[in-house]
């Protein structure tokens, strides 16, 4: 079995919203079992990159290979069924669905997803809120947990998490960090978009910095300490 082939390999990805050219040739890869972060300032194109991988940006060109198969021209539903799952920045918890319906919404696409008992072990708060009448009644932190939890059932191997800590209290951020750690141990591959650099630094094996729709720098976990200054400058922290 060859591990040389990355799970996700992106080459020269360009994307547009109408007339505006947002991604200008993104290149990066994610290996099996890794946690990789995409860092960058507001509007750099991180969310657009995740949406393009998911097939949600209609105007895109370039190569997106998942497990060696080109998925760059596929429709979102087909991409999802190959084993990629997406947790959007705005969380996308459905107000017209109960908490349980939200949790059970994404269909199982492959074997090997988490069972409900494992999910509730990761996110005990969700078990308490399970009978809730509407996803919209949950707190921000609970909504974030729900948005992550529901994609763990599906058997997807690659999780795209867009700013899972945005706007959350430190204690919740900590809990989500612990969950991501557990998911890595469980064998998930995770592509994490973050503004919270300290959160990403603790979890990710490698980091890519995106600026104006290009990958401008890459850091391995070990580099971070000595290249801190450089990184802070890029991120404008």
């Amino acid at each position: 079995m060859s591990n040389a082939q990355p799970l996700l390999r992106i080459r020269d990805l360009n994307a547009w919203y109408g007339e505006s050219h947002i991604l200008h040739g993104i290149d990066f890869e994610v290996n099996r079992g890794e946690v990789v972060s995409l860092l960058g300032r507001n509007g750099a194109g991180k969310t657009t990159t995740l949406r393009a991988i998911m097939g949600l940006v209609p105007q895109r060109v370039g190569s997106i290979a998942f497990e060696g198969t080109e998925i760059g021209a596929m429709k979102p539903e087909r991409i999802a069924r190959r084993g990629i799952a997406y947790c959007p920045e705005e969380r996308g918890v459905f107000a017209s669905l109960t908490v349980e319906e939200n949790l059970m919404l994404p269909p199982v696409v492959q074997d090997g997803g988490l069972g409900l008992d494992e999910i509730f072990e990761l996110f005990p708060n969700l078990e308490e809120r399970r009978k809730g009448a509407s996803g919209a009644r949950l707190s921000g932190g609970e909504q974030q947990m729900l948005a992550i939890a529901r994609i763990l059932r599906t058997g997807a191997k690659l999780l795209l998490l867009d700013e899972p800590t945005e706007g959350l209290a430190p204690v919740i951020v900590h809990q989500i960090g612990a969950s991501v750690e557990r998911l890595r141990e469980r064998g998930f591959t995770i592509l994490l978009v973050e503004q919270n650099f300290h959160f990403a630094a603790r979890l990710a094996d490698r980091h890519y910095v995106i600026e104006h729709g290009r990958v401008v720098e890459r850091f391995a976990r070990g580099d971070i300490r000595e290249r801190m200054g450089e990184l802070y400058e890029l991120l404008g922290v």
Binding site: M54, E77, A80, P107
Partner: protein, 296 residues
């Protein structure tokens, strides 16, 4: 003779019954419109024409193939639904990326074409369609006489409305639909084929109209223009109930039918305008409708 509020009670109950029957049709039709609008974001102006098509298909099945009411009650909605699926796949789905107005104008034009075609072949005078044998009699309820077929129309449409509500609010498929109303992109990103769901939803929504058409065939004459008058009122009801609300469209449909019935009893001159008066009041007080949620 018994009287209620100065009105002979058989007259009052008779009018309420007619109101309830009209309400049953309003509910079926506005329910279809609400489902279609929710999932496709299309205001389906062809709804009245497809209701008429349902009645006509029942009449054609009987006249040319000898297929009676009961099979037609299933077959005609299926045929209308299939026509809807064809319309959505070949034409309507091409308009989703454009402004909503295109969908509205398209379905409006489609209604004219469908009705024009039927008028061309069958004229506007209308064809009679007899109710099935078992439903020809009636029941004396003591306070009024209930023709069996009218009772059946109320029961059948309530069952179908309730079944649709259950399907949408209480099943897994329904949770896909509700989620797709909120965030179709995200639902697709979970691996659910939303474009297919939109096609089937349009087919289902117009099949409801076709079903209403078959129910209506024995009550009114089957004519190419039977949908025109009805659909205006149904659109007013959709505005009153709030676009996109499933329960709202059912309750409002029945309620407006009853209010029309009462108006016909107590102030007949206003019976055909009362729905528009209510619509105007609702628009002033609650522009997003009684059951609708304001849109951002």
């Amino acid at each position: 003779m018994q009287e209620l509020l100065g009105i002979p009670s058989p007259l009052l109950f008779g009018q309420l019954l007619i109101g309830l029957i009209n309400g049953a049709f309003y509910a079926l039709l506005s329910l279809g419109l609400a489902v279609i609008f929710g999932v496709l974001n299309v205001i389906n102006f062809a709804h009245g024409a497809l209701y008429m098509m349902g009645a006509f298909v029942a009449w054609l099945l009987l006249t040319y193939l000898g297929i009676g009411y009961w099979p037609a009650l299933v077959v005609a909605p299926l045929i209308v639904g299939a026509v809807g699926i064809l319309i959505e796949r070949t034409m309507l789905s091409r308009l989703y990326d454009l402004d909503h107005l295109y969908g509205l104008l398209f379905t409006f034009g489609l209604a004219l074409i469908i009705e024009g075609t039927f008028i061309n072949f069958y004229g506007v005078s209308g064809q009679p369609y007899a109710p099935p044998q078992v439903l020809t009699g009636g029941y004396n309820l003591g306070f009024m006489f209930l023709p069996a077929y009218r009772g059946w129309v109320i029961v059948a449409s309530l069952l179908v409305c309730f079944g649709t509500w259950l399907l949408i609010e209480r099943t897994r498929l329904g949770s896909y639909l509700r989620a797709a109303v909120e965030r179709p992109d995200l639902v697709r990103a979970f691996g659910i084929n939303v474009p297919l769901m939109m096609t089937l939803t349009y087919g289902f929504g117009v099949a409801l109209a076709g079903f209403a058409g078959v129910l209506a065939a024995p009550l009114y004459t089957v004519s190419p223009i039977m949908g025109q008058n009805l659909i205006i009122v149904v659109f007013a009801i959709v505005v009153i109930g709030g676009l996109g609300s499933i329960l709202g469209s059912i309750v409002t449909g029945l309620g407006i039918g009853l209010i029309e019935g009462l108006t016909r009893t107590f102030y007949p001159e206003a019976s055909s305008t009362v729905v528009f008066v209510i619509m105007a009041i609702v628009l002033i007080i609650r522009p997003h409708g009684l059951f609708g949620r304001p849109r951002e």
